[in-house]
């Protein structure tokens, strides 16, 4: 720590940190624009000026930018004591405002605008510039980002995030002097999967959320709750916001170990299905092929006819349903009759991950652990598409090794432009073996493309190169051997090596291979980081709940032993071949489906019950690293919609189960779950329980300044309705309640006096950029066993052998399109590539295919016609199909099948 005097008060500040960041951490208000806790300092905006004094006798001092000055012991600064500095900072804002429109009342950013806050903070309030303003033309940047360049104050944060940090290529600073333009070389959709962060990175309203704009509400009028993104297995923390019963906005919610300051566009914009037409709001019964709405009594009559004490019930849960819903279903049907909804393939993969985790000594890596690693091996995962936030962390990790030379030159890491200059585009070791090229290629040291088994063999070989005890692999090509040698050397030379693999290629040997590499490193006393990407938001959790696979559940249903099957939030047609899924509906069995929206399974069910979407429910998800995190209901659900677990509990009444009465709140389910499922011990602690009270009562979901609550129902009833009760959580559907800062797991908005924008997050951390005050939320359910005596996995797979005329079809994932619910949102749909067949150009030549041709393939008994996309990075002999796309649902990949033939010309 360094003793630093600010305005005559001495502070202990972290030595070497930049003064701005350190001072903000102490709660001192210094205005700023171009600095960002994750992007560092560049000294462009000149807003954070302070006066630095050489020594005690220095009275004149020197104007410096606090973001560019390291905290050094014995230094002295004036922040507010010096009139001239205060005036300079006011002048900087005055300059910025010379061209900024005075459109705050109609600007989307108004009310949560960093520029507004800084203008108030610097005291600039009267415009003396009497000349005209410059104006720009705006660009169409796609379905998600609105562009309003007139508001730009040229802080350069957008391009620094988009290009420097996130590796984007199509957003640039153009032109110069007071006419710098931030945009694309031509209109068009921003290409980066992380473009949505521009909304939060931009200190004013240049980049705003187009989906939010279509149903805009001021920040203070939003009802918000802390939530967890359901888009993939990362478990990024989000804040979801509502008004008038509509989910309107998803923002990043800081989590130090996971998403930090950024989320991906699937997570931010993939929420619109919640407001879509396809939502189910009332229980409906199939009657002569059509559904009819049921009254409460009719539902009761139907259920008492079909579920009675002693009824044989089958349950199918889901990897995207909460632990609570899955557990409730398991309790209803009994664990022998319960499927967790994972396909056999996913079930095997997840069991394997859990088994490895139970015995493997490597650290169970968080996203931050990956970001802090200085050499990384990726086996199989196209992270940008299967775990986007981890891909962003990985990109940052490649800066760690070159940064050592920067530090040696005594250039602080936070001095962003200088540090990037000094590393001069050098990337640290990142070795990736994937089916085809990825968006991380530009920072990848070496890459090899192959089929999943090839990749697994590489992993085994790297482990063997690190430790001769690990099984050897024969028959590697020269390129593969070179990759193995280089990767092994890099991992061995690293201070913190990381290995990432996962389930997206449906190859269990990849998991073992990654474990072998991590084990070889751990045995050399390296703090090896091991991460496995899981298939869905709660795949890890459902695997821990256990149960039979989807396929076995369907088999069981067909035995005729069951009276009814209850399906919770699982569209079988997304995961299984239609022919297999169909067979469930063929027998006498009554199918009760509980879900938030219509879909192929709901369409075929006998009874459908409307479940709350994530924004209308509470629940717990377990992310890829086994961290249980709670998401909270944002607003009371419409009509008959309720959480899936509550529907299941209601069914228990008809089965005469005791839980029907015992389970009144979410906490009751949590406690029961902790008691019944050993692996879920501690899950209740993921967030404070319903009984938790901050000083002053429940934590309000609405802001204290929410307006019009008393008038919301005025067109129906003049007197105000009593706010809905929330028995499940310590949050209230109200603006009344505790005014204190809630614990991190319940934090639903960032606001501090003088700080209305997302920048106020600084006030919720002990140290800016560090963990949330009170600890980051969630509870880890999986502990590495430390020094367990595990040995290397020995079953090296044989390389894939194809018979003549066959080709191996591999699964290719897409951040926009492979996750069905987000993919159903119009904006995400527009950014999805659409179904295609990826082939190597050499293969295409052999098969007489041109780029853009329609090719025919026969897969799992289906005939598919798809446009051909040349993908030179694919290994010849393999072809790729996009996962989850229309027509490809439930495809079992990888699959060897006959080579494509030419269909109709496009």
């Amino acid at each position: 720590m360094a003793k630093v005097t600010l305005d005559s008060t001495e502070y202990d500040l972290p030595t070497g940190a930049n003064l701005l960041q350190a001072a903000l951490g102490e709660g001192i208000d210094i205005p700023y624009f171009c600095w960002h806790p994750a992007l560092g300092s560049v000294g462009a905006c000149r807003q954070c000026a302070v006066r630095q004094y050489r020594d005690e006798n220095d009275e004149r001092g020197m104007l410096v930018m606090s973001c560019m000055v390291p905290c050094t012991d014995g230094t002295r600064f004036d922040v507010h004591n010096d009139e001239d500095i205060v005036k300079f900072r006011e002048t900087v804002t005055e300059w910025l405002m010379t061209n900024h429109p005075h459109d705050c009342p109609v600007c989307d950013e108004g009310g949560h605008c960093h520029l507004q806050d800084m203008t108030v903070m610097t005291g600039h309030n009267y415009r003396s510039y009497r000349f005209t303003k410059r104006t720009y033309k705006n660009q169409y940047l796609g379905p998600h980002i609105n562009h309003e360049m007139n508001r730009c104050i040229t802080c350069y944060r957008c391009v620094r995030f988009y290009d420097d940090y996130a590796g984007g290529k199509d957003l640039q600073a153009m032109a110069s002097h007071n006419h710098v333009y931030f945009g694309r070389h031509e209109e068009g959709t921003l290409d980066s999967e992380f473009s949505g962060n521009l909304i939060e990175v931009c200190p004013t309203g240049v980049f705003t959320d187009k989906t939010f704009k279509s149903h805009f509400i001021r920040k203070w009028d939003l009802q918000s709750a802390p939530s967890i993104c359901q888009g993939c297995s990362m478990g990024c923390n989000i804040i979801a916001s509502e008004r008038y019963g509509k989910l309107r906005l998803i923002n990043n919610r800081y989590h130090h170990d996971l998403n930090g300051y950024f989320i991906c566009d699937r997570g931010r914009f993939g929420y619109e299905y919640v407001n879509a037409e396809a939502r189910v709001k009332i229980p409906r019964l199939k009657d002569d092929g059509d559904f009819k709405d049921l009254t409460e009594d009719e539902l009761s009559t139907f259920l008492s006819g079909h579920i009675q004490p002693g009824s044989k019930l089958l349950g199918i849960g889901s990897p995207r349903a909460s632990l609570e819903s899955n557990f409730a279903l398991r309790t209803l049907v009994g664990s022998d009759n319960f499927s967790n909804g994972l396909t056999q393939r996913d079930s095997d993969l997840m069991s394997r991950i859990l088994a490895i985790r139970a015995e493997h000594p490597a650290n169970n890596a968080s996203i931050r652990d990956i970001e802090a690693s200085d050499a990384v091996l990726v086996l199989g995962e196209d992270l940008t598409n299967t775990a986007p936030r981890m891909a962003l962390a990985l990109r940052q990790s490649t800066r760690n090794e070159p940064m050592e030379s920067v530090t040696a030159m005594r250039i602080p890491e936070w001095s962003d432009k200088a540090a990037r200059l000094a590393t001069f585009g050098k990337s640290g070791p990142l070795f990736a073996a994937t089916p085809r090229g990825t968006k991380l290629d530009d920072v990848t040291t070496a890459k090899v493309h192959g089929d999943p088994v090839d990749i697994a063999r590489l992993g085994y070989a790297i482990a063997h190169a690190l430790d001769a005890e690990a099984p050897a692999v024969g028959g590697l090509s020269e390129e593969e051997s070179a990759f193995v040698t280089a990767a092994a050397a890099a991992l061995k030379g690293a201070k913190q090596p990381a290995i990432i693999s996962g389930t997206s290629l449906n190859e269990g040997k990849l998991l073992d291979a990654a474990a072998n590499v991590a084990l070889a490193l751990t045995q050399q006393d390296k703090p090896a980081q091991l991460a496995y990407v899981a298939p869905e938001g709660n795949a890890m959790g459902t695997a821990m709940v256990g149960g039979m696979s989807l396929e076995r559940a369907i088999e069981a249903a067909r035995t005729g032993d069951y009276d009814a099957v209850v399906i919770v939030e699982n569209d079988l047609y997304q995961n299984l071949l239609a022919s297999l899924a169909d067979s469930l509906f063929e027998g006498e069995i009554t199918v009760i489906a509980i879900d938030h929206s219509m879909g192929a399974t709901m369409d075929k069910a006998d009874l459908i019950l409307p479940a709350g979407a994530f924004s209308e429910s509470d629940g717990t998800l377990v992310n890829f690293e086994g961290r249980a995190q709670r998401f909270f209901q944002v607003y009371p659900a419409e009509a008959a919609i309720q959480e899936a677990w509550r529907w299941v509990r209601d069914l228990m009444e008809f089965a005469d189960q005791s839980q029907a009465n015992e389970w009144q709140t979410l906490d009751d389910v949590l406690f029961a779950m902790e008691k019944d499922v050993t692996s879920l011990q501690g899950v209740a602690e993921a967030a404070p329980l319903a009984a938790f009270r901050a000083v002053g009562g429940k934590i309000p979901r609405m802001s204290r300044r929410a307006s019009g609550r008393t008038a919301m129902q005025a067109h129906i009833e003049v007197s105000e309705d009593k706010p809905a009760e929330d028995p499940d959580t310590p949050l209230s559907f109200s603006m009344e309640g505790s005014a204190t800062t809630p614990p991190p797991a319940l934090l639903n908005r960032y606001y501090a006096p003088g700080w209305s924008s997302v920048s106020s997050l600084n006030r919720f951390q002990d140290e800016v950029g560090g963990p949330l005050r009170g600890g980051d939320p969630g509870v880890g359910l999986i502990q590495s066993p430390g020094d367990a005596s595990v040995s290397f996995y020995n079953h090296v797979p044989e390389a894939t052998r194809l018979t003549d005329g066959q080709v191996l079809f591999l699964p290719l994932h897409h951040v926009f399109g492979s996750e069905p619910w987000s993919a159903s949102c119009p904006g995400i749909q527009a950014r999805s590539p659409g179904p295609y067949l990826a082939v190597h150009p050499d293969d295409a030549g052999k098969w007489g295919l041109e780029e853009g041709d329609l090719a025919k393939i026969a897969l799992d008994g289906r005939d598919l016609t798809l446009p051909v996309q040349f993908t030179p990075s694919l290994k010849a002999g393999t072809a790729g199909l996009p996962v989850g796309f229309a027509g490809l649902e439930g495809a079992s990949l990888p699959t060897a099948a006959a080579a494509p033939t030419r269909g109709i010309e496009s």
Binding site: G43, R46, S128, F131, A175, S176
Partner: protein, 446 residues
């Protein structure tokens, strides 16, 4: 007395018909190369130039040899090192480098080889102002000739020193004269100045050690090597070594450019070399070192044009090419013209420069047209204060306000006379005031 001994730079300099390689060699050209490469070690060259007290002629006046000594050497230093010649001469009123390049291109080529040898540069770049088409052609010819003669390429003069020289023509921005912005431009990036540290001698072009020197600075080096440091000191009438190219633009009888001992007085320059003021024009002030230096006035005419003397008087020697202000030219018009240039040439990186200079430009435009408002002078003064060194990211804005700052000091009445008194609002209401403000902004009277 125009001899190579007293006027090393401009002797044999002929923009109409510059010497080719043969002619240049005949008058001693490339001699320094033989001497340095065969008889001197690189550190000896650095020492010699350091001791000669050759100060940078681009405006900053830093000791050239000292700058070279900052380049990391030895086995651990990067093998690639670069010498960049800053030939992006865009300072309004400055045309000295152009003369050197058009009239004596081989001198710069020789200088760039021998200077590169001093710190082991592997490649040299001449970053040339895009509009200098003639200089481009002549330099390209000179480089080709030098290459053919074995002065460039592998194993120069049979030694183990190898070096390539590349001419790069700028796409054209004044800020490219700022050495780190120049490096960015040369790499194909936006021409924004870089954060320092790291400084170019450690991390420069393509991340490698790089020295950036001005054309005139480099052109002195062969002569220092040939004639020694004492000779170089002797050329000067000041503490700093060498001659200087001095220029005058403005209403003198014979505007032009001359090579003179460093330290000639302003009066001698105007009277003897510029031939005095033209009939009917009186001297009013002078920007001694180009458009980004402070005005000096009558009382300063006997000051020596060297780095320290001019700095003590509150201005800068800059490029040594002065712009005269006479009594028939509008100070306001001149300052407006300069500010307009600088505002347009701001790279747009830091707020004060990007948004402050256009404001100053607008105010100066109003003043120039007699549309000044009460408070304008205060606005200008505020900008002079807050566009100063430290407030901005680089030196462009501080340089830009130097003429303004000094004009406010020496010619304040011109500014005051351009301000119209505030018209009395019809009534004190906010609406009346707003209307008034609108009319003023539109430049109309009530």
């Amino acid at each position: 007395m125009s001899s190579p001994e007293t006027k090393p730079l401009l002797s044999y300099c002929d923009p109409e018909n510059p010497m080719d390689l043969k002619a240049y060699e005949a008058v001693g050209g490339y001699k320094s190369l033989h001497k340095a490469l065969k008889h001197m070690t690189p550190p000896e060259v650095v020492e010699l130039v350091k001791d000669s007290n050759l100060r940078g002629r681009g405006g900053a006046g830093f000791n050239t040899g000292l700058k070279w000594s900052f380049v990391p050497q030895g086995d651990n230093a990067p093998k690639e090192k670069y010498l960049v010649c800053n030939a992006d001469e865009m300072e309004p009123g400055t045309f000295k480098d152009r003369l050197l390049m058009e009239g004596k291109p081989h001198q710069l080529v020789e200088a760039m080889i021998v200077s590169a040898y001093a710190f082991g540069a592997t490649t040299g770049y001449i970053f040339l102002r895009g509009e200098y088409k003639l200089a481009e052609r002549r330099l390209l010819d000179a480089i080709a000739e030098a290459k053919a003669a074995g002065y460039l390429g592998n194993n120069i003069l049979g030694t183990d020193y190898s070096y390539e020289l590349v001419l790069h023509t700028s796409a054209g921005r004044y800020i490219c004269g700022e050495e780190t912005a120049l490096l960015n431009a040369l790499e194909g990036r936006r021409a924004n100045p870089r954060a320092k540290p790291p400084f170019p001698p450690a991390v420069g072009l393509w991340g490698k050690p790089t020295i950036i020197n001005n054309v005139e600075t480099l052109s002195n080096v062969p002569h220092i090597i040939n004639n020694g440091k004492e000779w170089f000191h002797g050329l000067s009438d000041s503490n700093d070594g060498g001659t200087k190219l001095y220029g005058i633009s403005g209403r003198v009888n014979t505007p032009g450019i001359w090579e003179l001992p460093l330290g000639v007085t302003i009066r001698e320059l105007i009277e003897e070399h510029g031939g005095g003021m033209r009939d009917g024009y009186k001297f009013r002030g002078v920007l001694p070192g180009g458009a980004s230096t402070d005005f000096l006035v009558e009382e300063h005419l006997d000051l020596k044009m060297d780095y320290d003397t001019i700095a003590k008087a509150g201005s800068r020697l800059g490029t040594g090419t002065m712009i005269l202000l006479d009594d028939k030219t509008s100070v306001l018009g001149m300052v407006h013209n300069l500010i307009q240039f600088f505002a347009h040439e701001s790279c747009g990186w830091c707020t004060p420069c990007r948004d402050g200079l256009p404001w100053v430009e607008r105010v100066m435009e109003a003043l120039k047209d007699g549309r000044g408002s009460p408070g304008d002078i205060e606005t200008l003064e505020k900008h002079c204060r807050y566009l100063w060194i430290g407030c901005t990211f680089c030196a462009l804005a501080p340089g830009a306000v130097e003429p303004l700052k000094s004009a406010l000091k020496y010619f304040r009445e011109d500014f005051e006379n351009a301000i119209r008194p505030a018209p009395e609002p019809a009534d004190g209401s906010i609406r009346a005031k707003a209307r008034q403000g609108l009319l003023e902004a539109l430049g109309q009277t009530n």
